[in-house]
């Protein structure tokens, strides 16, 4: 027992030191990908007995494997709906360990419609396993996967030629597939390719070297994964430290927290803050355990500097002699990830390192056919399409090319309306600025000169996340128009809308203060209000107007000025008797002839026949449907 305890201690001491390999598996159900992963997990003894029990139960109901055999693929399909469809449709992460390494597998589906899933899974991978069916060899899908792997800058590829058992473990078949693949891959940028003949189903060369293929002298798949050298994949040359968080626990400590994206930093090193360009020296590298002398990727630390420099999130600490590009204008390979096609006129949010700003796509240079690698012209991208674009951002970004530095070369685009991550990009080596097309061009300058706004209503509406429109409330005096207007304003504001109320006393106090209450002046007043609404609506703002507006003809005029599609008429449906109770003073004066032009007393009120909503004071709840519609 005593000896045993010592063993587990030794085991843990050693095990704590092992490193981490993140890998991507690409392939479809037919390639036996799930079977391969299932076997890796199973044979590396990660699976506990009760998970196996559950597996045997599931196999009986929906399994695809032959009777009596374990369907390894079932271990992997996570979500219920997907299990029923018999396909894996998202990125699923799997974990297993050997005594040399811990492995994280990003398991992604292989069909073309799942390109975005593969891009997602591959973004953090050190290595990709590309599965090929020995019976079919290199097919379109193999080429597509290899292209995506190269696009993502994954440096190691295992070409796993599977189902060798079905081609009699033939060396000839293997060699010819490898040759095929290598001739294709020379066009791409993948430094390390390792072909391995396997049978996932039978277990040949997966964990143990196979006796069925004596002609193959190399490592088994797992041996290769355990030994492949990935330490050199990090960029240790170019120090980049995007500031994530400024730590100020007390007046004497101002720390800049972040992750070392690349390069190495030592105490005492001279550094520069960008974009300010201010220089200082590293005073300390702080961690929870105390100060350390140096930090390297991907460590999360906190730096303090000798001088009091103001640096905030989104800025970057670098070394003065080795700086990234600072620019608003760059080229990138973009992958469209959204179901909704790209609207090239849209302004997006871009998130790059710890920076968020706005971005627009100035130009689409070309799109790439992921199957043939051919380039063609395009004016927008659909889901899963990939191509080269020119981007301009509001704020300058601090970047390197993705090829040189993944962490400062990658970005995501976010749709400002849906907040979805709609595209991801990889920055290409910076070109001379003048060579890049931009959309603030001469035509735009000319339009501006002629007094034309360069910002469209649509762009404004997208920024505000709403449609500019007018809610016009009509009704008798005392019917509760103004109260409804302010209730609506509050509710819409709470929903995140930008909204303005216009009502009688407010307008009469300023904009229309010279006007009287004669019918012509009332018409003039409402005409002015309608034009104010028109201007505000064109800016994307919602206006809520509370005016008696008793004449059908004037309401029609107002609607014509504002525009039918932006106009909603709300009628306060209260009887004259009830209104009188609410504003006794006014109605008494009107009946005594002290004031004129009070609808319902000395002038008529046209009850609208075409009101979009009828609201009663006693039932404001009815506006909820209106608010939902907005």
């Amino acid at each position: 027992m005593e000896k045993n305890k010592l063993n587990i201690k030794e085991f843990l001491d050693r095990d704590e030191q092992k490193d981490l390999l993140r890998l991507l598996t690409a392939g479809s159900v037919d390639d036996g990908k799930s079977t391969l992963i299932g076997r890796l997990l199973y044979d590396s003894k990660k699976l506990y007995e009760d998970q196996l029990d559950a597996l045997e139960r599931d196999s009986k109901r929906v399994g695809n494997a032959g009777a009596g055999e374990i369907d390894y693929a079932l271990l992997l399909d996570g979500l219920k709906a997907e299990r029923e469809q018999g396909i894996t449709i998202d990125v699923a992460y799997r974990y297993f360990s050997t005594n040399k390494r811990k492995f994280i597998i990003a398991d992604t589906p292989g069909h073309e419609q799942y390109t975005r899933n593969m891009i997602t899974g591959g973004s953090t991978a050190n290595l990709a396993i590309i599965l090929v069916d020995a019976r079919t060899g290199v097919i379109t899908q193999t080429k597509r996967h290899t292209f995506l792997v190269s696009l993502l800058g994954i440096k190691h590829v295992v070409l796993a030629i599977n189902k060798m058992d079905l081609v009699d473990y033939s060396q000839e078949v293997f060699d010819s597939i490898v040759e095929d693949y290598k001739s294709f891959v020379t066009r791409l940028d993948i430094p390390d390719i390792k072909p391995i003949p396997i049978s996932a189903l039978k277990g040949d060369n997966v964990v143990e070297r196979s006796e069925n293929m004596a002609w193959y002298n190399g490592e088994s798949l797992l041996e290769f994964l355990e030994n492949v050298h990935i330490g050199a994949d990090y960029n240790y040359e170019d120090f980049r430290y995007p500031v994530q968080y400024v730590l100020r626990p007390n007046l004497d400590f101002r720390g800049f927290s972040g992750k070392v994206s690349s390069g190495i930093i030592k105490k005492g090193d001279e550094v520069m803050a960008l974009p300010s360009g201010k220089k200082s020296k590293v005073k300390g590298i702080h961690t929870y355990e105390g100060e350390i002398n140096e930090a390297f990727p991907p460590m999360s630390v906190t730096l303090t500097l000798e001088d009091e420099i103001d640096i905030s999130r989104g800025e970057m600490i670098v070394k003065p002699e080795n700086q990234p590009s600072i620019d608003r204008h760059f080229e990138a390979m973009l992958v469209w990830m959204d179901e909704e096609a790209m609207d090239p006129k849209k302004h997006f949010f871009i998130k790059h390192t710890t920076n968020v700003t706005k971005a627009r796509i100035d130009d689409i240079r070309y799109k790439v056919n992921v199957n043939t690698l051919e380039q063609s012209k395009a004016d927008h991208f659909e889901l899963n399409e990939i191509g080269r674009v020119v981007i301009t951002t509001n704020k300058p970004l601090l970047f390197d090319s993705y090829k040189k530095n993944k962490s400062t070369g990658a970005f995501i685009l976010i749709d400002p309306m849906t907040n979805n991550t709609c595209a991801v990009g990889m920055i290409i080596e910076k070109l001379n600025n003048k060579d890049l097309p931009s959309r603030i061009n001469d035509i735009n300058r000319e339009r501006a000169q002629q007094g034309e706004s360069l910002v469209s209503t649509r762009e404004r509406e997208e920024r505000l996340g709403q449609k500019g429109q007018t809610l016009w409330i009509t009704g008798l005096a005392g019917s509760g128009k103004r109260e409804l207007a302010y209730v609506l304003e509050r509710r819409l504001f709470d929903e995140g809308k930008t909204v303005v109320v216009l009502e009688g006393s407010m307008v009469r106090a300023g904009l229309s203060n010279e006007l009287d209450f004669t019918s012509t002046d009332i018409a003039e007043n409402l005409r002015r209000v309608a034009h104010v609404c028109n201007i505000l609506n064109a800016q994307g703002v919602i206006t809520v107007c509370a005016f008696r507006s008793p004449d059908e003809s004037i309401r029609e005029q107002v609607r014509d000025i504002i525009g039918k599609e932006r106009f909603t008429l709300i009628y306060m449906d209260e009887s004259l008797e009830d209104c009188k109770k609410c504003d006794e003073d006014l109605y008494r004066k009107a009946e005594e002839g002290l004031i004129d032009d009070v609808p319902g007393v000395d002038t008529k009120y046209d009850v609208p026949q075409d009101a979009d909503y009828k609201i009663k004071k006693s039932n404001f709840e009815a506006i909820e449907e209106l608010i939902r519609r907005i």
Binding site: K5, I8, L12, D15, E16, Q17, K18, D19, L20, Y48, E49, D50, L76, D77, G78, L79, K80, D90, A92, Y93, R94, Y95, S97, K102, I119, T120, S123, T124, G231, A232, Y236, Q244, Y245, L247, F253, G255, S257, G258, K259, I264, H286, Y288, P298, M299, S300, R313, M337, H352, T353, T354, K406, S407, A410, I412, I414, N419, N420, T421, V424, E495
Partner: protein, 302 residues
């Protein structure tokens, strides 16, 4: 250059700290959900690490189902106090006063009212726009596909078909008013990683994880602890002292003990590596309907 290698634990640690800082920087009102379990204990330590030598800029919140082990509550109070955390404790008052509990209402009703509903109400009450949880992807099938930033709509629900792509270490933090995210900084950790890290870092955990002679009884096929006098007499009567420990901690009537002699972390790991049951299998709630964890997650449970 070969000196510049981080072990897998240090890589996981760095990744988690990066995630925690991103959330603190980009959200207005984050909270860390604290279950008092071993994963929570690791997550809490990672938060302390992320902001050292400063103080963590968000509170801890425990959703108390009122049926937790007594030792968990003692541990919670002590830990929060000693480490200077702001601790919020919330529970479903209405259901509690109605006497909802696993013995009388079954695990499904109890979990829904005292955990899921209590959590949703508490998040709403405080207006939290981001909530950290200690879930790991290796725990259970439906978690394997969940993002690190897991988006929740106005009704706090998860839609597994409509998740945002998540690439590199760039997290999309855009949410509209009323929407929120759940954040899982331990996504890439496995159970073994958690134990190794607890050992490496000397992280305090609730003593229930270690084997000891305890008074246990048979209930719905699992061995549960006689923790207070709310346990029906019929079960108390057949209780006996046994050497047991717990692999996960939750509500005492819903968390099965395992027979074990493992009284140190090393022994726990040793037992784990040779054991035949995966960790969630001692939880009664995962078995009450097929694909039950996914269902609960859609409804708002973590």
């Amino acid at each position: 250059m070969s000196d510049y290698n981080l072990s897998h634990l240090r890589q996981l640690e760095a990744e988690s700290i990066h995630i925690i800082r991103e959330v603190a920087a980009e959200f207005e009102n984050p909270v860390m959900l604290y279950s008092i379990g071993k994963d929570s204990s690791v997550m809490v330590r990672l938060a302390e690490k992320a902001f050292a030598p400063g103080k963590v800029p968000f509170p801890l919140m425990h959703i108390d189902s009122k049926w937790k082990f007594k030792e968990m509550i003692d541990f919670r109070e002590k830990y929060a106090k000693e480490h200077g955390w702001t601790l919020i404790v919330e529970y479903n008052k209405e259901a509690f006063e109605e006497g909802v509990g696993p013995f009388s209402h079954g695990s499904k009703v109890h979990t829904d009212l005292m955990k899921t509903q209590a959590l949703l109400a508490a998040l709403k009450k405080h207006g939290f726009d981001a909530a950290f949880g200690g879930a790991r992807r290796d725990e259970e099938k439906s978690r394997a596909k969940e993002r690190i930033y897991s988006f929740r709509d106005k009704f706090q629900q998860w839609d597994p078909k409509n998740q945002r792509p998540e690439l590199w270490d760039i997290y999309n933090a855009k949410v509209n008013k009323g929407e929120s995210i759940r954040v899982f900084p331990l996504s890439n950790w496995t159970e073994l990683d958690i134990w190794q890290y607890i050992r490496l870092e000397n992280i305090p955990i609730v003593p229930l994880y270690y084997a000891k002679e305890r008074l246990v009884t048979e209930y719905e096929g699992t061995k549960i602890l006689v923790d207070d006098d709310r346990m029906p007499k019929e079960f108390v009567d057949k209780a006996k002292m046994e050497m047991v420990r717990f692999r996960t901690l939750g509500c005492y009537p819903l968390t099965g003990a395992i027979s074990s002699e493992a009284a140190t972390i090393e022994e726990i790991v040793e037992e784990m590596m040779t054991t035949t049951k995966s960790e969630r299998s001692t939880r009664v709630i995962d078995f009450d309907q097929e694909a039950s964890m996914e269902q609960k997650k859609r409804e708002g449970y973590f």
